[in-house]
Subunit: 320 residues, 2 copies
């Protein structure tokens, strides 16, 4: 990838070492990698005696409480502003204004990074920004400790599905080994993200499974989450995210569809595919878009017409 | 741990190098670690020009087909017999007779290894026999390849829940990195074991979630699987195993109960607990037993009386 003003981890570390008051930005709807990578850097910079805090458009979700993120509330005037795991300016959110108008450095791993920052340290071969952040912290000469390790381990496992996703490499495991050696509370963290479910998740799963239908010789599985259920459970978009992956994981299913009712007549459709179908092409048929294996679109109508519309596109894709 | 005739990985490798015809045994109801570790060793020994095959009381399940295990059917007369990942003689099964009567070497990681073999190479600090097998294969001087890596990676991730369980260490990640570098098809394998579910699993989950009830300030979650449902789905005990873990994984739940109807009046109860309750004590109250975090018992009666019986024990445990 080519990004304007791209810099190496070593150059990024040198730039960070020059400043004393550093503001870190996370992306909106923050996930484990933006929070873990930013807070890992925060602990490393504080170890060097610098002032550092984190600003995010949204509240940091409670499930990250154990990282004890110091949020920014004007406790210092930043010399530099650093965006962490943020591919484009759209993902910053108004809550980061006015700092998001002048970003000195972006540290990221997304192939789609738009190069919006003055300098960008981005490695899109890595499965998580946390893996890149480990390199930068090592370059700064900061010795890893339990706090830093817990933060980076959180980023690493949430963006790799605990070392399962295809972008994981041997270097990711070497990074994992270093974080273990530095005292990462790995059992606690992996339990939290992969071995426990909220009541809302469980209730959504129940309703999703009750709506489960199969089509086209069982190669397509579809679930529907109505607005009534979403309101009843008070489910957040992040709760539904988890459900979207489920239909595709059923044995023999090439296309998994999750239809989520937004309002009386608006439906958001999430499409996940195996290598035997192109999710992006299916979504594009209804004016949406995305990636080969995961894409989405919106449909106006009622539940039956939304189902029929997406099924027509799925049929076309499966006949190819 | 102290085991009679305990030997080091180096001594185990030297012993293996001395023989030309080697029979490997897996434990009955074979899992990913016994199959992966044995077949990894099989490929390593074949690379050295030796005759080697695997014998197991049960058929190797289809989901391990990609490892292309060569099963033993008298194609050579063994010089030595090696048990892999087998803690005690009880786990061999009659299908391994007469070879199981005279086991030269056992390679294992279970703390409960009974020392039944003439020589035992056991490291109970490791989360998987596959991690120990990697050491032994390296000691033999065999260069890792894709076949060996796929086998050992299968053992490593199935016994560690893909690096999630508490026995995982930095050395486990270093082992993972080596297997990646040797060409392990990690995405394919982790998808197979952790990102796909059978139709039976999905249907069981649906019925289990529909029966889900909470008790004692939501600290106890209970699901009931009736015989009618088991018969309808044609679910195997192994399908139900996966369900038993679910109730306890719900946020805030200290005791997860799964009641499975065996016949009209017989119920098997599986108990899983957090560190806030003792599963074994709960089970013992109804004549069962097990471990602190996972235990089981049987109850005779009807569904209501079975529920009431176990709930009384749960209440006692939660009041402690």
């Amino acid at each position: 990838m080519m990004i304007n003003n791209g810099i190496t981890p070593k150059q990024a570390s040198e730039f960070l070492l020059q400043s004393d008051n550093i503001l870190l930005l996370c992306h909106k709807n923050p996930d484990g990698d933006t929070i873990g990578s930013a807070s890992g850097l925060m602990y490393a910079l504080k170890k060097l005696g610098k002032c550092c805090a984190i600003l995010c458009h949204d509240k940091i979700p409670e499930k990250y409480d154990y990282l004890h993120v110091e949020t920014y509330c004007n406790q210092f005037i930043p010399d530099i502003v650093v965006a962490v795991d943020i591919a484009s300016e759209n993902l910053l959110g108004e809550g980061t204004l006015p700092y998001s108008e002048n970003i000195d450095l972006c540290i990221d791993h997304h192939p789609s990074n738009s190069g919006y920052a003055k300098m960008t340290c981005c490695n899109d071969k890595l499965p998580a920004t946390a893996q890149l952040m480990l390199e930068i912290i090592e370059e700064m000469g900061v010795e890893l400790d339990k706090n830093i390790a817990n933060c980076l381990y959180t980023g690493l496992i949430t963006d790799t599905g605990c070392f399962k996703y295809s972008a994981t490499t041997s270097a990711t495991h070497i990074a994992g080994a270093k974080l273990f050696d530095a005292g990462a509370e790995h059992t606690f963290i992996s339990n939290r993200f992969f071995m426990s479910k909220s009541r809302k998740n469980i209730m959504l799963e129940k309703y999703a499974l009750n709506s489960l239908e199969f089509f086209y010789d069982d190669r397509c599985a579809m679930v529907v989450i109505t607005k009534e259920i979403i309101d009843e459970i008070q489910a957040q978009p992040s709760d539904i995210e988890g459900i979207s992956a489920m239909p595709r994981t059923i044995e023999g299913v090439d296309v998994g569809i999750t239809i989520r009712q937004i309002s009386e007549s608006l439906f958001k459709i999430s499409i996940r595919t195996s290598e035997n179908a192109n999710a992006c092409e299916i979504a594009e048929g209804l004016g949406g878009g995305g990636h080969k294996r995961a894409a989405g679109c919106e449909v106006i109508g009622n539940i039956e017409s939304a189902k029929n519309a997406i099924l027509r596109e799925v049929e076309t894709a499966l006949c190819k």
